[in-house]
């Protein structure tokens, strides 16, 4: 049994102009230690897949199981979100707290003990140690993204859901992030959404989503070795 299992999942959003089918019959599963890269154009339903996994969006049809639970009600959804680490696309932290306080609050709120040394180590690796005492609204987009990643990774999640982890980052910092994520590969199951082809390197499979349709149009691609991709560039 996979960590995440989607079977014929349909998701519909209500908008002012009518309803939109964001996912149409998506089926896939994420095994233990596996990394899936979800690719596709904007609005194709990549983020929706992550939100369905977290129980923030309910499918209108199909079955979703995460850690063996269906994220249908608030309680199981909360439990899944507590066990998973979710990196948001736009970088969501509480502006009134410093980055450090956000990290502490995040861990305490999830009922975990904070390993302060581990936090500093991650911050050092992601080049954000200097901003730990700053408020999130005083950070650049890239700094915020990496600070949030420190927060998500420091809590030892059982599942990583990373929404566009290299967006808003320059080439150097993108490499730093990809390097760091590669250290989690095999240990923690990951679903990564991105347009960034460099993330192929850390993925076991690539799902392509177009117009919310996976299933038939799903293409499984074998990853290319990371060192090779470096050489190619």
């Amino acid at each position: 049994m996979g960590v995440v299992e989607f079977e014929d999942v349909f998701v519909k959003y209500e908008t002012y102009t009518g309803s939109v089918l964001a996912l149409r019959g998506v089926t896939f599963s994420l095994g233990k230690g596996e990394t899936i890269l979800v690719m596709g154009p904007s609005g194709s339903g990549k983020t929706t897949i992550l939100r369905v996994i977290l129980g923030l969006v309910q499918p209108m049809h199909g079955t979703v199981r995460v850690f063996g639970m269906e994220p249908r009600d608030g309680k199981t959804g909360l439990e899944i979100r507590r066990r998973a680490g979710y990196l948001t696309q736009e970088g969501k932290m509480i502006n009134e707290l410093t980055v450090w306080e956000n990290i502490m609050f995040y861990a305490e709120g999830r009922g975990r003990r904070v390993d302060e040394e581990r936090v500093r180590e991650l911050a050092r690796e992601l080049n954000v140690e200097a901003v730990l005492n700053k408020h999130p609204n005083h950070l650049s987009g890239g700094e915020l993204k990496r600070a949030e990643l420190v927060m998500v990774l420091s809590d030892e999640p059982e599942l990583l859901l990373l929404d566009e982890p290299t967006s808003m980052l320059d080439a150097e910092n993108s490499e730093v992030v990809i390097d760091l994520l590669s250290t989690f590969k095999g240990r923690v199951p990951m679903i990564v959404t991105s347009h960034d082809p460099r993330l192929f390197e850390i993925s076991d499979r690539v799902l392509e989503v177009v117009g919310g349709v996976v299933g038939k149009s799903l293409r499984e691609t074998a990853p290319s070795p990371r060192r090779d991709s470096h050489l190619e560039r």
Binding site: L54, L56, G74, L78, E79, I80, R81, R82, R83, A84, Y86, T88, K92, M93, I94, E96, L97, E101, M104, F105, Y106, E108, G109, R110
Partner: protein
């Protein structure tokens, strides 16, 4: 966790704004309640100290036939002294006047005039003063209380004729104090107060003719003026004192007097109590109800032959103090009832800021929760944070309450605290839940129509009374609806004002690009509204003269005719309140303008710094800054004038529908309006 939640809250500007505005709104409302209460208390104290008489009782005593004047004097003086002693114990001052009700049987013929002469006998001149008559104090002289004579006949001549040339008169003033004077119309009369001496009584008896007195038996009326020394603000306490406790005490005193005089078993006192409508006979320590125990009463009287039977009636003639204190309380309530809608308009900028701060706090809270939910953090944190927000706003109200409670004269009641905190909470709840509420076009048009109808009717001085008299009964429904909507219309004026401002700017759209002005209004909406409203209220007493209206209303008021003094009517309270408050509002308006100035200056500095780095035109930046600043201030000035005018028109309409008065009469089967009072318009030039 709580540490971080508290940190999040206290680092939010909107949270501080909410606390500040909760404090300010509470302080202002507590202030107004305290101030109105203080003014009304002043009035109550004045009434207790200067108004006479507070209550008047009449006690009718039946004397036997052939009673000598000296005996009448002796008995009445004894009764008066006994009553006075007891009333003094009750912390009351008392005055007594004695009169003979048969006076009008025999008018005086003098110089071809028929003059009715009424004498009120007093023990000492202070008795007359306790009834509220004022005069230059004569010792043992007669006081002319009231008269109506035609031609060259003088009261002195009438009095001299009556008392055989022995009476010199001083004239009393303060004619509104009319008890116990008889109301006589279309006859000539003289009413005087004279000392109660054997001589004056003898002369009076002589004139009235002993036969008249003997034929029906002599009855004497003793008027008792009782004046309460200490102010009592609860009308129920005074009412019970005047209608229950005092009469019981007076009855007990009279019975005490008779039993002392004739012995416990020597007299049966028949007491007719006109105040509660009872009749009881007191004999030998027992009260007997003659209606229920007539036989028993007859047996008692027959068994005790030779006992004296006396009767006296007691009635309460007037109890002005009860009316006056009730009226004072009514004024306080009336103030908030009549001007509730207007007060909402006045306080609108503050409530807007409470609304704005609360909606920002709750919006931030929702954002926090979204973040927390993504992270799988417990949702009950929402309850903790909301509790913290409401607790802080409540504490701000409590601090305002405590602040005003230090001032003894203005301290509001705990009930007011509950009410004001409730109002703040209600505003916060509206902000929390009502961010999606929108007034539809239909509701907006209906409310506009109601408001226009209200203003037109008020301006034309038309109210329910006028409508009925003119036979427009059907319109009464609309009028009742308008009156019920007054407080809502108060809020609506503010809402309409917001809409009207942007509508006004859009009118200029065909002439030039108005987007900049609309952005100015939207971006600084709350500060602009706050400063414009504050300055508008500052301007209100300068374009509207409430004193003019208050004076006209007071001249027309029955209440004023009784009391003779009053800074206190609900309208007078509003005039005082606006006068005292307008300066403070002016300061707040200027503070808000300085805030706009500071914000503009900060923006200017950053733009100048940016431009100088990139070699931009600094003069153009300066011009842009000045334009920005003057536009904002110009907008505030225009809006302030608009607010002042809207408030003045609304106030004028309020006064129109509230104070227009008259008397409805049925003439030839039709309702007509008599002695219509139309209050003047409030605008100083109107």
């Amino acid at each position: 966790m709580l540490k971080y939640l508290t940190k999040i809250m206290v680092r939010r500007m909107s949270f501080f704004l909410l606390i500040l505005m909760s404090f300010t709104v509470s302080l202002l409302i507590f202030g107004i309640v305290g101030q109105v209460g203080h003014l009304v208390d002043d009035n109550v104290e004045y009434t207790f100290a200067h108004y006479r008489p507070h209550a008047v009782y009449s006690l009718d005593f039946a004397f036997g036939r052939n009673t000598a004047p000296s005996a009448v004097r002796w008995e009445t003086v004894k009764v008066m002294n006994a009553l006075e002693k007891d009333l003094n114990k009750e912390n009351l001052s008392a005055g007594f006047l004695v009169t003979l009700p048969v006076t009008y049987i025999k008018p005086l013929k003098i110089k071809g005039h028929t003059v009715y002469f009424q004498a009120y006998f007093f023990r000492n001149i202070g008795d007359v003063e306790e009834f509220g008559f004022k005069f230059n104090r004569p010792e043992n002289h007669a006081v002319l209380l009231s008269y109506n004579l035609s031609g060259n006949l003088t009261p002195e001549a009438v009095s001299a004729r009556f008392f055989d040339g022995n009476a010199s008169l001083v004239r009393a003033y303060g004619i509104f104090r009319e008890y116990p004077l008889n109301h006589l119309s279309s006859v000539e009369y003289v009413q005087v107060a004279v000392p109660l001496t054997n001589k004056t009584l003898t002369e009076y008896f002589r004139w009235l003719n002993q036969d008249i007195l003997n034929s029906s038996g002599l009855r004497v009326t003793l008027y008792v003026a009782s004046n309460i020394k200490n102010p009592v603000r609860d009308p129920h306490i005074i009412e019970s004192l005047v209608t229950s406790k005092l009469p019981r005490s007076l009855i007990a005193d009279v019975i005490g007097f008779y039993t002392k005089r004739y012995g416990k078993g020597g007299v049966a006192v028949d007491v007719m109590n006109g105040i509660n409508g009872s009749r009881l006979v007191y004999f030998n320590g027992t009260w007997i109800d003659p209606a229920r125990n007539e036989e028993y009463l007859m047996r008692v009287i027959n068994r005790n032959r030779g006992i004296r039977s006396v009767s006296f009636d007691i009635s309460l003639r007037r109890a002005d103090i009860v009316d006056l204190v009730k009226e004072a309380g009514t004024q306080t309530v009336g103030f908030f009832e009549k001007y509730g809608g207007l007060l909402v308009v006045i306080y609108l900028p503050f409530f807007l800021l409470v609304l704005y701060a609360s909606s920002t706090v709750f919006r931030d809270l929702r954002n926090d929760l979204e973040v927390l939910e993504l992270r799988g953090i417990r949702r009950n944190l929402e309850v903790v944070q909301e509790f913290l927000i409401f607790l802080a706003a409540g504490l701000a109200s409590a601090v305002a309450y405590a602040f005003l409670s230090i001032l003894p004269d203005y301290s509001p009641s705990p009930l007011t605290f509950v009410g004001v905190t409730g109002l703040v909470y209600l505003t916060m709840l509206i902000a929390r839940n009502g961010s999606t509420w929108r007034l539809g076009r239909g509701s907006l048009l209906s409310l506009t129509a109601l408001l226009v109808a209200f203003i037109l009717l008020g301006y034309m001085r038309v109210n329910g009374l006028v409508l009925v008299s003119r036979g427009y009964g059907a319109l009464m429904l609309l009028f009742s609806l308008l009156m019920a909507f007054v407080p809502i219309m108060g809020i609506f004026v503010g809402y309409l004002f917001h809409r009207a401002c942007s509508g006004l700017i859009r009118l200029f759209e065909p002439m030039f690009d108005v987007r900049y002005y609309l952005r100015s209004l939207a971006g600084y909406s709350y500060v602009l509204t706050f400063s414009a409203y504050s300055l508008g209220i500052f301007m209100l007493p300068r374009i509207a003269s409430l004193d003019k209206v208050v004076n006209a209303v007071l001249r027309n008021s029955d209440y004023m005719a009784i009391v003779g003094y009053n800074g206190v009517t609900s309208l007078g309270l509003l005039a005082d309140y606006l006068d005292k408050l307008s300066g403070g509002f002016g300061v707040m308006g200027l503070l808000a303008i300085s805030l706009i100035f500071i914000v503009s200056l900060r923006k200017y500095r950053s733009v100048r710094e940016y431009s100088s780095l990139r070699g931009g035109d600094l003069k153009a930046v300066q011009r842009s800054f000045l334009k920005f600043l003057f536009l904002k201030i110009g907008l505030v000035v225009v809006l302030s004038v608009a607010v002042a005018l809207v408030l003045a028109v609304f106030l004028d309409a309020y006064i129109g529908v509230t104070y227009t008065s008259g008397k409805l009469l049925v003439e030839n089967g039709r309702l007509t309006l008599q002695s219509l009072f139309k209050p003047p318009h409030v605008l100083i030039w109107g």
